[in-house]
């Protein structure tokens, strides 16, 4: 009952690959946006806030459809990526990673932003009075102090990516060994109760582990700050 078929192993491996890919794709942008949201004092901040959180409330199928329009070989981004990098997004695991990255982006930004907000902005001032430029101060003071929150954001985004279904199936399809992640495998094997249960159990275990890890990381960040 508990030995996985080769197709299930493929789905599991692919889910990890897509999750890692999604985290790597979104991390630089998430750090930047989180920093701006944590430090920026501007009346137009709400606009950025809305844009960032949109994937959280949009039906994933709609997110997937919009991504499909952008990344299709004839779409603006898809065309550029294919001509310049020879990279095809639609119906490849990259598509699954991009879909997962967009859907998990708000969660990652939220965790990283909280971590940046916990760092006293005057520490950056101290760094600048000691001769560090803004970027230098960010790299050597703010980011190291927020590292646990950044890691928590990555873990959270990874977990969310493992569960991504709606946007993924729109952009990447449901190809065994290429784009069929755990949720898509569950969807395809509907009816084979044993398989569905095994995959569902794995999903629950992974999600719970990731949430525990990110919670633990965020707690450590807070207790350190008060020291």
């Amino acid at each position: 009952m508990w030995s996985l078929s080769s197709e299930e192993w493929l789905a599991l491996r692919l889910s990890f690959q897509v999750g890692l890919g999604a985290v790597l794709v979104s991390l630089p942008a998430a750090v930047l946006v989180a920093y701006v949201l944590a430090r920026w004092q501007s009346r137009s901040k709400w606009l950025l806030e809305v844009l960032v959180n949109l994937p959280l409330v949009l039906p994933p199928v709609v997110t997937g459809y919009l991504l499909l329009v952008c990344f299709a070989p004839s779409g603006p981004l898809g065309h550029a990526l294919e001509t310049w990098l020879g990279l095809r997004i639609v119906l490849t695991w990259w598509g699954a990673a991009v879909a997962a990255a967009v859907v998990s982006f708000p969660l990652m930004v939220r965790a990283i932003r909280l971590a940046f907000q916990a760092v006293d902005p005057r520490l950056e001032m101290a760094a600048r009075s000691l001769g560090a430029g803004r970027l230098d101060a960010f790299w050597t003071v703010t980011l190291p102090l927020a590292r646990r929150g950044v890691l928590a954001g990555c873990v959270l985004a990874f977990a969310r990516s493992l569960g991504e279904f709606g946007a993924t199936i729109m952009v990447a399809g449901n190809i065994v060994g290429e784009t069929q992640t755990i949720p898509l495998a569950i969807f395809s094997n509907w009816g084979a109760l044993g398989e569905v249960w095994r995959l569902a159990t794995i999903s629950v275990a992974l999600a719970a582990a990731a949430l525990l890890a990110s919670e633990w990381l965020e707690r450590r960040q807070t207790s350190r700050e008060s020291a």
């Binding site: 006293d120 005057r122 520490l123 001032m125 101290a126 760094a127 600048r128 009075s129 000691l130 001769g131 560090a132 430029g133 230098d136 050597t140 003071v141 190291p144 102090l145 350190r224 700050e225 020291a227």
Partner: protein, 230 residues
Amino acid sequence: MNRLSFHCRHRFPGGFALEAALETSAQVTALFGPSGSGKTSVLYMIAGLLRPQWGVIRLGEQVWLDSNKDFHLKAEQRHVGFVFQDHLLFPHLSVQRNLMYGRRRRHGRSVAIEPSRVIEVLELGDLLARYPRNLSGGEKQRVALGRSLLSGPELLLMDEPLAALDQGLKDRIITYLERVVAEWHLPTIYVSHSAAEVRRLADRVIVLDQGHVTQSGPTDEALLENHSPR
């Protein structure tokens, strides 16, 4: 001693308006006045950490700010040592690395302040391997002082460096401040609302009230006429 000249105007979002003009070439100048009088804001403007809506700031021949020419020298290029009220040591770095943070970024500076001498004068030798969370309040403030000295400043700014310490510690740290002044002769602006501290450290006093300079002169004269708020 390089002459510092400062004239800035700034209206804060809460409505508080600061317009202050001051000049000094004293060894230690105290900015004296009640809380909320704008002392700290003046210090931040000198350091380049707060950009006033209008102003001109010069140290000797160098122009740091001239809003008529839309010129604003960045904080990291002003060679100012800033000692904050609550030390602001980097919690993730050891004392040693805190001390060297500014020095590594300002090598080749003309002001030669040797780490070994700073460590000796401020008695930091036993603290080097420790982290800020394992230091007492007085130790933290000594490290912060050492850190700003080692960045090779041409001007030292201190924002009530003793305010967070209890009285016994104040007396001890003030001795260290006197040693620093005697050893390196850096022009120093010292913000305080304690007449006792000012009397002990400063040659010249500038009194601020509600965002304006109300008085300025040698310490004894200025303090005599001004009734200390505390």
